[in-house]
Amino acid sequence: MSYPLANALLIWRLTLEHVQISAVSCLLAILTACPLGVLVSRVRWLAPPVLAAAGIFYTIPSVALFAILIPVLGLGVKPTVLALVLYSQLALIRNTAVGINEVDAALLQAAQGMGMTDAQILWRVEVPLAIPVIFAGVRTATVMAIGLASIAAYIGAGGLGVLIFQGISTGNTDQILTGAVAVSTLALLADATLSSMQRMLQWAMGVRA
């Protein structure tokens, strides 16, 4: 138990790094994937190729994807963020498209009948109703990003994975366990927080619909 106490400051710094990398990646992933999800829900024939492309990144082993990006982007945060953004695309695009497609057609007709424009229907009807499903995708993507970010420590991205890799290579069990417990706690905390937010959103949307 002496390791975490003696290195509290280091652990805190690595936790902040870890949160930063995961948060930036998730935000960038949402900014790219959600518009793509909307596009795919509008232009149906685009859905299979776009989802297949996102699935390709999802299938590549994470260590291999990090490695493939090194010759292009070097070591550090840049290839890490790109890899995390690529990984999150499938969960986010799929959930956005599914959420929007599941909106009741009767509601869309009612909105049209009320004289809403396409943009108004999208922002005021479809997106709000799809939010719980989109949010479930955000939750999956966030937990995945936190997990993958720990692996990225090996390519110099920092974060809590540093403790695990260092501990393994120097045979320091306390350090390994500290890193493993810290990163698992971070992932579970993020999952629990997002899942209660998701429930609140679902409840709020349920009341309005």
Partner: protein
């Protein structure tokens, strides 16, 4: 970039690593299937187990793979066996979840019809429930296999062997051809296995109609 020349100069090494990679992934998926299909049946049958079991699955899903390796190492050390255990644990969840979901999706009236025909509980399980749930279960096994190949790449760091060896060596030695000689075949292996399993899945599903 002379990955190609590396591959051409060391074809037996890369092939041997690919074979080791495939072997540990298949073995882990086999173990995971043997454990989690019965577990999924229990979770579906015994109502009291459902909520706690599914809660544990959720927690398990959130724990990062690297943390899982970190937690296995102090218990089992470094090498093939601890890597196999960690990969198997990772592969358990998708199969367990899909077995449960597959059984849950069977309409109650079909079970009642089978009972009305005089089938015993065991017959209903084998001839009706598992038959009808098999496409979903097989999809879970496919996910587990792709996950296993990914985690096996990472587990090279704790002595699993396989293509991850080349990647970690290549990153540590800043040797781009070496890391690509691991990463590209690892990605190829994941695609090949996913594609082949997809074909198998369709073959399995069709005769059931």
């Amino acid at each position: 970039m002379n990955v190609l020349s590396y591959l051409l100069e060391h074809p037996t090494q890369v092939l041997a690593l690919a074979r080791a990679h495939l072997w540990i992934s298949l073995l882990a998926t086999g173990i995971a299937t043997a454990v989690s299909v019965p577990l999924g049946i229990v979770v579906h049958r015994v109502r009291a187990v459902r909520a706690p079991a599914l809660g544990m699955v959720n927690v398990g899903q959130a724990i990062p793979s690297l943390a899982l390796l970190g937690l296995t190492l102090p218990l089992l050390g470094i090498g093939f066996t601890p890597a196999l255990v960690a990969i198997s644990v990772r592969a358990l969840l998708p199969i367990l979840l899909n077995t449960y979901a597959g059984l849950l999706s069977i309409p109650q009236h079909i079970i009642e019809a089978a009972r009305g025909m005089g089938m015993t509980d065991a017959q209903i399980l084998w001839r009706v429930e598992l038959r009808l749930a098999s496409p979903v279960i097989v999809a879970g096994i496919r996910t587990a296999l792709v996950v296993s190949i990914g985690v096996a790449t990472l587990a090279a760091y704790i002595g699993a062997g396989g293509l991850g060896d080349l990647i970690f060596q290549g990153i540590a030695m800043v040797d781009t051809p070496l890391l690509l000689a691991g990463a590209i075949p690892a990605a190829g292996l994941a695609f090949a296995v996913d594609g082949l399993f997809g074909i198998l899945e369709r073959q399995l599903v069709r005769p059931l109609g």
